[in-house]
Point group: C2
Chain length 145, copies 2
């Protein structure tokens, strides 16, 4: 498996071990991870730090030219907010662990020229299926439902 998806899954598992929602993300520039993160809704009471947003926050203030040459890996299909952040910073490619348990705004990303690759990785699916079945109300809150 792609080592960067493995790193995103490690972030998702780190979140789960903290009692959080198991979604992780890494941002890769020239073959190196420059930001990694996971959903912080439970841990920090954050409504903006989805996995992808936390990875952006940890990548920090990069030159526009850096973000425009990055690939973002996420264990789950990115919601409208995370898709919007991907568009804001001009990330050209997104690799998605799975979109079976939640389909985010992939169509918006594609319509704006972002390359979207969906892996449908078994571990990513199992992490979310297990979490959602045990915490349906937390999951609904995270996606605004």
């Amino acid at each position: 498996m792609d080592k960067f998806l493995v790193a995103a899954i490690e972030e998702a598992k780190k979140g789960l071990n903290e009692g959080g929602i198991p979604i992780g993300s890494v941002i890769v520039y020239k073959g190196k991870i420059i930001g990694r993160g996971h959903n912080k809704r439970i841990q920090n009471g954050s409504v903006v730090l989805h996995g992808e947003m936390d990875a952006f926050e940890n990548a920090g203030r990069q030159a526009a030219s850096v973000y425009k040459a990055c690939t973002l890996y996420t264990t789950l299909s990115p919601c409208s907010m995370c898709s919007g952040a991907i568009l804001l910073y001009g990330i050209p490619k997104v690799v998605i662990g799975e979109n079976k348990t939640f389909l985010g705004d992939e169509s918006l990303l594609k319509s704006r020229g972002v390359a979207v690759e969906v892996v449908n990785n078994k571990t990513c699916i199992e992490l979310m299926e297990s979490f959602i079945s045990m915490n349906p109300e937390l999951w609904n809150e995270d996606i605004g439902e």
Copy 2:
């Protein structure tokens, strides 16, 4: 002027006084501000805390039914990321101080059924024109350019 737009402008000025980018936002539920914030790029080194995102973060973990009955006020047209957050949480109405210095993703918001009102307030325009003319590189960074 609408008192909630006044509150958003107060947030923008607070940001300016902190040495930051002068964009502020408030989220209003049933006639009461439940979250207020301003851009934190300079102050916190944050790449996700635009004014609107900071207002969401400070409003915190609200029931979906609350966010779906809120109006978001922002001094500047919301970028893709902030528009995506507005869509994620189902905010039905957005009041925008101005869209002369920057036009965000208003068309996306409208296409998804969000009511968008643009005031083109003079103070909002002057705050941004003055900041951009003195700090063009910071502003470009904030919008991913």
